[in-house]
């Protein structure tokens, strides 16, 4: 299949999503909706301390409460060794995952689970939970990344020694690891510079903010096998993690994915699932557990707070000579921040002959960080894109022209070594330049910010099955939860290959027993990788359909061609065999060899990287420091938009989440390390009334690694907004903003400081 423009019949159209009506009418079944007969209510007892040794846990009083049928502590999960294993999105230390699910020796953050119980009612469960006595030895805590790195800081793990440094340290540290990337000779690059910008930036940890809290129902069968119903970004991930933590075989657990009310990376690990399984195993009853919003904020993964230092060198004509990043990222309670991904992405939009990144992964007394769209990239991009804006001002060069002068192109060597495949970054900059937004006049106290961003996008294992029904309708089964409209895209790609109407294709998300393994939904991989599997399954189905037509016509299969949903006989001068439709072949399937289906499992390679450029106009109230977004345009190379409306939605959603990160969102702690704003009233995410319509421009530079040219699109749009907003505020006020969030008090303080200084 080629990448020719305008040759598609279904791809590029905007049909109504198959899951839409159920979702807007309340019929869709989300995590908390699942019910089973005899189901118990599970609750978690959480640490009230940011850092404490658990001296003992007495569950006897709780266990004695009538209606309490199970109580579990860390002793009920396998005590796993500390070692890296493959699993999830990256090599994982399952000991850390297990300890994050339920604390074993120490509670490492407020909200860390220490025990769980199941009872016949919510009231009984809550009353019994209050009777669990945990004897804590409260320890000093540390939250801030720089504080955690200081010598003498409270130590979270006495057995944590910094990796990636030589010689191997002999004393424990909160710095879990250091990763370095280098290209060329950084000293030479700065020596060649005529202008150098060096600045420090900070970002706060922010939560993914998914609307649906974590929820699970688990039950054990009499044969020792278990079933789990939950909303997650990967039913196979949940199965694997639970098997590991529970000491079970993977084949003993079936995970049934329910609808997911947002994930954004935050549902790529487990929290409640192993506890529900342990409670169900002990009680012999199904157990349901649902987090409150407070639990979500206190115990599930935000992304890292960071300290970022950027140094850029350039010639007076704007040519970049060197770029250096020092990135310090909070990992939360256990190692594994995305600092290295910041190091791999921050400078990638630009050609640097000499570049370096040093990335620190630092533990602190906060929930273990989890992935959040383009993990690690927005924070590094905030620093780099802010420094570029300042450089443009110093050099008196238009910020778009400065980016164009240095823009990454196909074949450019990146800081992480590899050369870029076909990319469309320049095209996004040109689209930004041509957009009316860029030349629109600005009023008093208004400013315009520009920023760009990069994300790799990934492929990986995916499976798809296509079943042709007797009447010619088609089922498409895949193994990836639909977090961004992927059902529609899967059905559209199948319809495109099969040559039938979208309305005749029904997409379904299979459970772990219904479809072969598929890596989780994340990394902007599903439309690309699972879509590729769907296309191949549809092509396999077409081969079968042609074979059946050949049998019906008594010709050879090579004499049959599939066009526009029908088999055509290609035998020369044969006019006796009229084309037969898919429905006609399906109707005869029982007589020509049985049901028709295509099953494909692949490890998809060829993911196409993505670049985006955002334009942001703000108005700043100099009396209050309040920032209003007055216009915003997100431009991105999307390869090929299968369903443009959902691609635009991805760009808009990413932009809005990034705007929240830039303007409002932050965790507020008291002096004991306890969270003060664990709800949406005090943790301020943007709502529709805060924002203008987010305009989008889809640039289509097809990815040659996909039959239709698809690139992942979900990660890139959250990378530019932090700097786009900060650059706009900096230009509106004439004061460079380097610390997020740009809340009114902070902006006002910066304006006052600038006035005092000068």
């Amino acid at each position: 299949m080629g990448n020719e423009q305008n040759t598609f019949r279904v791809v590029g159209t905007r049909p109504v999503r198959p899951d839409g009506v159920d979702k807007v009418t309340g019929r869709a079944e989300f995590g908390a909706d699942h019910q089973l007969p005899g189901m118990l209510v599970g609750v978690v007892v959480r640490s009230p301390h940011a850092h404490a040794r658990i001296k003992s846990i007495d569950v006897s009083a709780a266990r004695a409460v009538p209606g309490v049928l199970a109580v579990v502590t860390a002793a009920d999960l396998v005590d796993l060794p500390s070692e890296l294993s493959s699993g999830g999105e990256a090599p994982i230390n399952f000991r850390h995952v297990s300890h994050n699910v339920i604390a074993r020796d120490k509670a490492l953050y407020e909200g860390h689970a220490v025990a769980a119980l199941a009872a016949t009612s919510t009231a009984i469960a809550a009353a019994a939970a209050a009777l669990i006595k945990v004897d804590y030895e409260v320890l000093p805590h540390v939250i801030d990344v720089l504080e955690a790195m200081r010598e003498g800081a409270p130590l979270l793990h006495p057995d944590l020694f910094t990796t990636g440094v030589t010689p191997t340290p002999t004393t424990a540290s909160n710095v879990a690891g250091v990763t370095e990337f280098a290209l060329g000779d950084i000293a030479k690059g700065f020596a060649e510079a005529e202008v150098i910008i060096e600045r420090e930036y900070t970002t706060q940890p922010v939560h993914q903010g998914y609307i649906e809290p974590h929820a699970v129902t688990a039950t054990f069968g009499a044969d020792g096998t278990a079933s789990v119903w939950c909303s997650s970004q990967g039913q196979f991930m949940v199965r694997e993690f639970c098997a590991k933590l529970m000491g079970m075989d993977i084949g003993q657990i079936r995970v049934i994915p329910l609808e997911i009310g947002g994930g954004f990376g935050g549902k790529t690990t487990v929290y409640l699932e192993p506890l529900a399984l342990a409670l169900s195993r002990q009680s012999g009853r199904p157990v349901k557990m649902v987090m409150s919003r407070g639990d979500v904020f206190k115990a599930t993964g935000p992304t890292s707070g960071t300290h970022v230092k950027i140094k850029l060198g350039a010639k007076r004509d704007g040519t970049f000579t060197a770029g250096e990043m020092t990135l310090k990222y909070q990992a939360g309670a256990y190692p594994g921040s995305p600092a290295f991904l910041g190091g791999m992405t921050g400078l990638t939009p630009y050609l640097f002959e000499h570049a370096k990144a040093t990335c620190y992964d630092v533990v602190s007394n906060r929930p273990k960080s989890a992935a959040y769209r383009a993990p690690g990239a927005p924070m590094a991009a905030f620093g780099v894109e802010s420094a570029i804006d300042e450089l443009a001002q110093q050099l008196n060069i238009d910020p778009l022209e400065l980016r164009l002068k240095n823009a990454a192109t196909t074949g450019m060597r990146t800081l992480y070594g590899a050369k870029l495949p076909v990319v469309g970054y320049v095209e996004t900059l040109e689209a930004a330049k041509a957009h009316p937004h860029y030349s629109a006049p600005l009023g008093p106290n208004q400013g315009r910010g520009i920023a760009s961003g990069f994300w790799f996008n990934i492929g990986g294992p995916s499976s798809a099955a296509i079943h042709v029904n007797e009447d010619g309708t088609v089922e498409v089964v895949t193994g990836n939860p639909d977090i961004g409209g992927s059902r529609a895209s899967m059905a559209m790609m199948a319809a495109e290959v099969l040559g039938i109407d979208f309305a005749h294709v029904k997409p379904t998300i299979g459970d772990t027993a219904q479809i072969a393994y598929s890596f989780l939904t994340g990394g902007s991989r599903v439309t690309f990788a699972t879509g590729k599997a769907v296309i191949e399954a549809a092509e396999a189905t077409v081969l079968q359909l042609c074979g059946r037509a050949a049998k019906m016509w008594k010709v050879e299969p090579y004499e049959v061609e599939w066009r526009a949903g029908s088999a055509h006989c290609t035998r020369v001068d044969d006019t006796t065999r009229a084309p037969v439709t898919l429905a006609e072949i399906a109707h005869q399937a029982g007589r020509t060899g049985g049901p028709i289906s295509g099953n494909v499992s692949i490890n998809a390679a060829g993911a196409g990287p993505g670049f985006g450029t955002h334009l942001c106009d703000v108005e700043v109230d100099p009396e209050t420091g309040s920032v209003k977004i007055i216009r915003y345009t997100a431009i991105q190379d999307v390869g090929r938009a299968i369903h443009p409306a959902y691609v635009e939605g991805q760009l808009q959603g990413g932009a809005v989440q990034g705007i929240g990160w830039a303007l409002n969102e932050a965790y507020l702690y008291d002096e004991k390390g306890c969270l003060l704003n664990s709800g949406f009233l005090d943790y301020r995410m943007p709502v529709a009334s805060d924002l203008p319509m987010i305009d989008t421009v889809l640039v289509e530079v097809p990815n040659p690694g996909h039959p239709f040219g698809v690139r992942g699109v979900g990660e890139v749009p959250i990378v530019p907004p932090l700097a786009a907003v900060a650059n706009a505020v900096s230009r509106a006020t004439g004061v460079r903003m380097t610390d997020l969030p740009l809340s009114p008090p902070h902006v006002l303080a910066q304006l006052d400081r600038a006035k005092t200084a000068g």
Partner: protein, 82 residues
């Protein structure tokens, strides 16, 4: 011979600072075997937590991927996502 290019930080720890290594290999598996013969223990480091870019294309779980005589090979951390 395929050219393996290592990050200097990685090379300092595992190859005595050698950042560019020529290896005669037809696929990823034989390339890693060739590296292991020259730098014992390196294969273990590459087996966990490292993806590979062969001529710019990134493979997260490599084994049988083809390596050409003029290929350029980089090792990099496995990339996750949200």
């Amino acid at each position: 011979m395929a050219l393996v290019i290592l990050q200097s930080d990685f090379a300092r720890r595992y190859t005595g600072g050698q950042t560019q290594i020529e290896v005669n290999a037809s696929d990823y598996r034989s390339l890693v075997a060739g590296l292991e013969r020259r730098y014992p223990g390196l294969a273990e480091q590459l087996s966990l937590g490292m993806a590979v870019a062969i001529d710019g294309e990134i493979f997260q779980t490599p084994l049988l991927e083809a390596v050409g005589p003029d290929s350029e090979v980089h090792f990099l951390p496995v990339i996750g996502g949200g």
